[in-house]
Amino acid sequence: MTAKPVVRVQAQDFDTAKELEAMTKGQTNIGAVVSFTGLCRDEGGVLETLELEHYAGMATAQLNDIAQQACKRWPLEHLLVIHRYGKIPPGKNIVLVIATSSHRQAAFDGASFVMDFLKTNAPFWKKEHFKDGSTGQWVEAKDKDDKARDRWD
């Protein structure tokens, strides 16, 4: 079974619960569903909002590419990837990945693989705006994110 992944790049919020329901409702041959939701953290209360800049055309293309690679590597039934852009306050959703499969390890690995590649390869950039009104800081890329991606080689 090769899933046809669904990718959405959008400003508006999503609802993890509803997306999960839509993906599994009425299905009787899915053994495993793994969802990953990435949320905006308040960084100990100091963050006012996180601004996500993106390269529109390429973002969708890259996420599709990553999702298709995941579908080639693991027997996934469904794969959904949603990534938001724009200003996101603490506690709100940034990214969602849902993978379903007959096999639990495929669902875990598929979702984890998408997140690791998305972090380093999808053209999004985070800027932090603080409550004290200080100018936003661009979030720096982390070496450990490169390592997380490279473990799939």
């Binding site: 993106h54 390269y55 990214v95 972090k119 053209p123 950039w125 661009w138 720096e140 890329a141």
Partner: protein
């Protein structure tokens, strides 16, 4: 050629995008970047650290700066990505 800038590279250059006719002498990504740095202090400042400059050609990552620009009509320059 459409040139796009993102995140702090965009801020340092002071522009989100440009439409430029590149000289025919500029055949590779590296030559393009070398030329870009000569365009003024803002470009020099934005592109000063090669190791944090990422390039996409026609919306595809380009990891080899010796890549030729034949058939390319969109170049994007940006820092390492921090989505997710």
């Amino acid at each position: 050629m459409k040139i796009l800038y993102f995140a702090w590279i965009r801020e340092r250059i002071g522009l989100p995008s440009e439409d430029i006719s590149l000289s025919k002498d500029i055949e590779t990504v590296q030559q393009f970047l070398d030329w870009m740095k000569t365009r003024g202090e803002n470009f020099e400042y934005a592109l000063e650290h090669d190791q944090v400059v990422r390039i996409a050609l026609n919306q595809q990552h380009c990891n080899d700066f010796s890549t030729r620009l034949d058939g390319i009509n969109e170049i994007a320059i940006f820092p390492p990505m921090t989505g997710g």
